[in-house]
């Protein structure tokens, strides 16, 4: 340890949540199922409505991301005194703002643009 003045901390690096065989296998099975379903939806052309398929694929991805976080990254409210969770929540909020606002703003900008066909460009000359 870099600070020998605090003897009570000496063995703390070993007190990290390591996970268990059962946890890793549960995570693996859930992740495999949550991967196979979206591949099946897209490659098997299950639904005719493509936006329904896209929505389902993205929802399953969000569920699988949480499976990874819980079973592989072992994130819980206790690890590192709760600061892991705080940093994670902060990141989620910002990522949602960055992704959601970018798509929203750029979609509207695109929809409200003047048409840019070649004849319009030429008429300005």
């Amino acid at each position: 340890m870099s600070h020998p003045s605090s003897p009570g901390h000496a063995d703390d690096t070993l007190h990290v949540h390591q996970g268990s065989l059962r946890g890793y296998l549960t995570g693996f099975v859930l992740a495999a199922i949550l991967t196979i379903i979206p591949f099946w939806l897209v490659m098997g052309h299950v639904f005719d409505n493509r936006w329904l398929t896209i929505t389902l694929v993205l929802l399953l991805a969000v569920v699988q991301i949480f499976v990874h976080i819980i079973y592989f990254l072992h994130l819980d409210t206790h690890s590192e005194g709760g600061w892991n969770m705080m940093a994670f929540i902060f990141t989620i909020v910002l990522v949602v703002i960055v992704l959601g606002a970018s798509i929203w703003v750029m979609y509207n900008e695109n929809a409200n643009m003047m048409p840019m066909s070649p004849q319009y460009q030429r008429s300005g000359e």
Partner: protein, 208 residues
């Protein structure tokens, strides 16, 4: 009082002096977690680029024409298996079984090498077919996002090799355990980002 504190001879101990280390326990792991969260922002901005530019194919190949879904399924399986086998290595580390741990780490590393190899093969085929990153905004954003992820995995493999040499030479010392815990987080994090890549870029991309 610790000897590291400034010696203020005779005066009462300052109320602002910390007697305990003010840092969280396992500060390295928390710091590495915050690094991963900042890495999330890199990927979030690249995902946003792909979301905005993904349909601008400039008359070139679209996502549905060029992306290879069966190859993607193999790649996804390789990365998921690599993540789980790294988890098995961490379990062996907790049991102090050094040989079994190194064996699982080697398996995880080889699976990741297979992943990067397949991805490079896919990139090569796309560029040969005239669908390189210079072809359209869609392909620029595709190569940037998927390539950034592939670069992360490649650096992870390099880190794994160096750490395996360290583990072989010095054993399961406290520093090596800490490093392995950081690499474990990095490894699982990259699998998590890949979930976003295969869902959003490939599966949703071919439908748009």
């Amino acid at each position: 009082m610790n000897s590291t504190a400034v010696d203020t001879a005779g005066s009462a101990p300052s109320a602002f002096l910390c007697h305990e280390e003010p840092t969280a326990h396992n500060g390295t792991l928390l710091g590495f977690w915050i690094y991963l969260m900042s890495d999330c922002f890199i990927f979030a901005s690249l995902f946003a680029c792909y979301a905005v530019l993904g349909t601008n194919d400039a008359g070139g190949p679209s996502a549905a024409q060029i992306l290879d879904l069966p190859g993607l399924a193999v790649n996804t399986a390789l990365l998921l298996l690599s993540s789980v086998t790294f988890g098995f290595a961490m379990l062996e580390m907790a049991r102090q079984h050094k040989r079994a741990m190194l064996a699982w780490l080697a398996v995880a590393g080889l699976l990741a090498v297979g992943f990067v190899g397949l991805e490079l093969h896919e990139f090569h085929d796309m560029i040969e077919a005239g669908a390189g990153p210079d072809r359209s905004a869609f392909l620029s954003s595709f190569f940037t996002l998927v390539g950034t992820h592939g670069l992360h995995v490649s650096v992870g493999i390099l880190w794994l090799i160096v750490l395996m040499v360290q583990l072989g030479k010095f054993g399961l010392t406290e520093a090596n355990i800490r490093r392995l815990q950081c690499l474990s987080m990095f490894w699982h994090f990259l699998d998590l980002v890949w979930v976003g890549v295969f869902s959003f870029v490939y599966l949703a991309g071919v439908l748009r």
